[in-house]
């Protein structure tokens, strides 16, 4: 577990794991697309428009997951003085932003046939939009500070302050009875989704995770090298 904290160990593990990860993600993506388009049935209500779910739901999960990882690492960076936390912060922010963008676009594409409008000002949609803008602010902050130490810590503080938005996104559906339907998978007792639709969803989620991990590894290695070389 040391590689989660120590840059040099991370590098060793990263070189070792990167190739298989890339191949795995390509396979999973192909499988996922195959399953979601051909092998999974239409929904009894929505017909084939439900297929957008196989992109929308994984990207939503990963957007929240990346932000949760960033919050954990900024706590590690600030409270326990682990410099690797700041590296993760700067490296993972764009990946989270891209996932949130995919989530918003696929959500509105799915909303047009289902709800009748591209965008409705509803609790969950607004909080995801706010999450996207918070990601953008983090990326801009990373670009606008010269002093590295100040930049790292201020970004970490902003991630922590922005993490108030995370529970709002998660529970916005239950607090305010909104147009967006309550969480399907969270009811672990009886997930109200049919197994035949569950499989492509899981495959696509893992495909997204693999792709995210691969890009994250690349960006973290770039960040480590750039820190060692110029030490601005």
């Amino acid at each position: 577990m040391k590689f989660l904290v120590n840059p040099s160990k991370f590098n060793k593990i990263a070189d070792y794991v990167f190739k298989p990860l890339l191949i795995l993600s390509i396979i999973l993506f192909a499988l996922g697309l195959l399953f979601s388009f051909y092998l999974s049935p239409d929904d009894y209500q929505q017909g084939s428009t439900v297929r957008i779910m196989y992109v929308h739901v994984p990207s939503a999960w990963l957007a929240l997951l990346t932000y949760a990882i960033m919050t954990l690492y900024s706590i590690a960076g600030l409270a326990f003085r682990i410099p690797f936390g700041f590296i993760i912060n700067t490296a993972v922010a764009p990946i989270g932003a891209v996932f949130t963008l995919i989530c918003i676009i696929s959500g509105s594409l799915w909303g047009k046939p289902m709800w009748g409008t591209w965008w409705v000002w509803d609790a969950r949609l607004t909080s995801v939009a706010i999450l996207f803008i918070i990601y953008l602010i983090i990326i801009f902050m990373n670009l606008s500070f010269e002093n590295r130490i100040v930049r790292e810590k201020v970004v970490a503080i902003f991630v922590l302050v922005g993490s108030i938005n995370l529970p709002i996104v998660k529970f916005s559906v239950d607090w305010w009875n909104t147009l967006h339907q309550p969480a399907t998978i969270s009811k672990l007792s009886k997930p109200s989704i049919d197994p035949s639709m569950m499989i492509p969803l899981i495959i696509m989620t893992f495909a997204f995770i693999m792709v995210g991990l691969a890009i994250a590894i690349l960006r973290i290695k770039i960040e480590i090298i750039s820190r060692k070389s110029n030490l601005i």
């Binding site: 929904d43 709800w115 305010w176 049919d194 639709m197």
Partner: protein, 146 residues
């Protein structure tokens, strides 16, 4: 007031404030900040003519009739009260009797509600169309799963 005492005071203050804030917010969001009203809530409130509000509920079974090419009349209910709704415009393709819907509009008079737009609310269960057929002919078809 040494620096450490200030820090202690700050920690105490923050804990008390965060606790009361969370209690305050959770208590108040529970009941009434709602995106839409249910028909039974509407009856309790005094109806204000042509003030735009949103009503959410199920479309009552066999209350849906088509007046002309794009004007419809149906009832929204939540098993406790129901409201007659007139709407002219294009209905989303998910809109059917027994299906959840959120409508936005205003009361034209005491009991007719003229909706300006209709959102079909999709509940969270997904089931393949094929299973719906064999459930139907085996008679297990549950009324709610329309």
């Amino acid at each position: 007031m040494s620096l450490r005492f200030q820090r202690l005071l700050l920690i105490l203050l923050t804990l008390v404030i965060i606790l009361s804030a969370v209690l305050l917010i959770l208590y108040n969001t529970r009941e009434n900040v709602s995106y839409f009203y249910t028909p039974s809530e509407i009856d309790k409130l005094d109806i204000v003519i042509n003030e735009t509000i949103r009503i959410g509920g199920f479309v009552e079974n066999d209350s849906f009739n088509k007046i002309s090419s794009n004007s419809f009349k149906f009832k929204i209910t939540d098993e406790k009260a129901s409201i007659l709704v007139t709407f002219n415009g294009i209905l989303p393709d998910l809109f059917r009797e027994g299906q959840g819907a959120v409508i936005e509009g205003a009361f034209v008079n005491k009991d007719i509600f003229n909706a300006t737009n209709v959102f079909a609310k999709h509940d969270e269960n997904y089931m393949p169309a094929s299973i719906k057929e064999d459930l139907k002919n085996t008679g297990y078809w549950n009324k709610k799963y329309k």
